[in-house]
Symmetry: C2
Subunit: 350 residues, 2 copies
Amino acid sequence: MNSTEVKAFGAKTNTADLEQLQINRREALADDVEIDILYCGVCHSDIHTVRNDWGGSKYPVVPGHEIIGRVISVGENVSKFKEGQLVGVGCMVDSCQHCQSCKDGLEQYCENGMVGTYNGKDEHLGGHTFGGYSEKIVVDQKFVLNVPENLDTKGVAPLLCAGITTWSPLRNWNVKEGDKVGVIGLGGLGHMGIKFAHALGAKVVMITTSPGKSEDAKRLGADEVLISKDEEQMAEHAGSFDFLLNTVPVKHDINPYIGLLKRDATMVLVGAIEPLEFHGGGLIMGRKSVAGSLIGGIKETQEMLDFCGEHDIVSDIEMIDMQNINEAYDRVTSNDVKYRFVIDMQSLKN
Amino acid sequence: MNSTEVKAFGAKTNTADLEQLQINRREALADDVEIDILYCGVCHSDIHTVRNDWGGSKYPVVPGHEIIGRVISVGENVSKFKEGQLVGVGCMVDSCQHCQSCKDGLEQYCENGMVGTYNGKDEHLGGHTFGGYSEKIVVDQKFVLNVPENLDTKGVAPLLCAGITTWSPLRNWNVKEGDKVGVIGLGGLGHMGIKFAHALGAKVVMITTSPGKSEDAKRLGADEVLISKDEEQMAEHAGSFDFLLNTVPVKHDINPYIGLLKRDATMVLVGAIEPLEFHGGGLIMGRKSVAGSLIGGIKETQEMLDFCGEHDIVSDIEMIDMQNINEAYDRVTSNDVKYRFVIDMQSLKN
C-alpha cells in the first residue's frame, strides 16, 4: 500500500496514518472469517464519509460496504463458512447481540449502536473499522453472508447495501402480488427497488422527474412510468398506490407523493436524511403513513441473497479499477452511473 | 327561530337566509330518523367553519356534530331505531356506500366524499346540511348511533367527535394492555385519548408543554406526565413509546416526539392539518412512522359508545346555554375549557 493508492481511496491521510492502518488491520479471532475481497460496490455513503459531509468521519477512511469475496480462513468457532466459499459483507460488522433489535434479527437498529463496516468503533481491536476498498477483511461470522454461486458475482456486491435497503421495506410492508407499487427516483437504490418489486409480483410504476429514464425503467421491470412533474399524470394516479418506496436522497417536496397513496398506505423513505415538510391534512384525510427504513438485518439480507439466486437478480453495474475511484465519485455525485460502480479489487494489486 | 338565536350560532346570516334555512329543513324520508336534540358539543371545527378559517364555508352555517337526542319518529324502512330511543349523530350524515372505504365501514374516507353533518352537500334536498345547534335533526339511519342509557348523557355528546377521533387510531394501531402510550396535548381530544388508552390497559404518559396540567392529567388516567420542554425528561423517555397520539391542533415541531418512539412505532396526528417538518433520518434510524387519522367510521363509533357504556366513560364537560355560544367560542380559542363545552338545547326554546 502506498500513497498513490490512498489517494485513490479519496481519503485524507498521510504516512503516519497509513502505519496506524497497518497496525489496526484485524487478525482473525475465533469467531472470525477472513475474506479475500473480489469486488466492492461504491455507495454514495462512501463519498459522504470520505468528504465528512455528515461530520464525525475518522481518518484514515477506508470506505466500502458492498463487499464480495472468498473465504481465506476461518476461526475455530466458525462452522457456517469454509475456505473458498463465496461470501458477502454489507454495512455492519458487529452489534450488541442482546438488545431487542438484535434479538429480532434487526441488527441495523441495535439499541447500543451497530458497528459500521467502516468508520465504526472496533470493539475487538480499538480504533475504528476499515471497509471494503481493500484486499482483505476480517469479519465476525454473524455478519458474513452466503452468496449464491449461480449469480454474476460482480453485480452481487451492490445487493449488500442498495439491494437490502430496498428489499427490507418491500418485505416489512408486505408488498405482494398485484399490489401497485411506486418506486420514486431511479438511481442505485431505485433500480433495485424496481427489480425486487417486479420479482415480488407487484405492478411497478417508476416515478421520476426525468422522462428520459422511461425506457430504462421498463427494461428493469417497471410496468409504467409516471413523470412527477406532470400534474395531469399525477392526478390520474392519485390515491391509487398500495406502497411507495421513496429513494430520493435529497430534500424534496413529499406532498405530491402522499397524494398518490391509497387509504392506509405507506410511503417509506430510504434515502432522504434531510428535513422534509408535509401537510398534516394529507396524512389525516386518508389514514396514510410516512415511514423510514434503514438497510436491513442479517437474516433478511441472507433471505434477499437467496431470493436473488432463485430469481437471477443482480445490480446493473459499471466496473472500475481502484485507480479510477475519484472519477467514479464525481460521476456518482452527478448521477452519471447505471446504476452502481463496482471496484475490481484485483486492481489494488496492480 | 329568530335573529337573536342566529347571532348565537355565530353564523353570518340574514332574514332571507333564515327563510331558506326553514325551507331546507329536511323532512323524514323512508330511511330517516327524526331526532329531538338534547345536547350538542362544541368542537373547534365549528368555530373554524363559522369563521370560514378553512375557506368554503356556506352560509348560513348551523354548526354542531356532537349530537345527542331522542328519536321522535322513524321512516318506514327503519327497524334499528324506535321512538324515544337515545341516539347520537357525529361528524357525518351520508356517504356513497359503494366505494371500498364505505364497504370497509370507514365512511369518513369515502372516496366520493362523505357528507359532513353541517356544511356538507345535501344529496336528498339539495343545498347544504345543517348541524346540531338546532332543535331537531333528520338523519339517515345508517349514520345514527345507539347511545347506552347508563351514561351521563351530557358527557356523551363529545364522544361523537373528540371521542371517536382518539378511539379510532388507538384501535387501528392496536394499542393494548401494557403498551406505553403517549398522548400529546391535553385538550378536548387529548383528555379523551388519556381516558381511552387507560381503559385499554396501556401505561399512559401525558406529554405536555404545561406543568400545570399534571394533576388533571393524572385524574383523567395518566400514569405519568412528561414535560416536553424539559430536555432531560425527554431524553429519559427516548425510544420508549409503543404509540404516540398527537392531538396538537396547530403547527409544531414533531421531531422531539419522533425521538420518543420505539423502533417500528407510530405517531398518529389527529389535530394538525398544517405543514409540519420532520427530519427524514429520525424515521429511517428506527423504522418509525408518522401517520394521520380522521374521526372514525360508523361501526367503530358504535363500538366506542358500547365500550364507554361498559367502562362508564364520558367526556369532561362544561354546560352552556345556546345564548352563551360566542363566549364559549372565545374560551375554546384560548384553550380555556375542561374539556368540552356542551350546549343544552333546551335553551334554544327559552
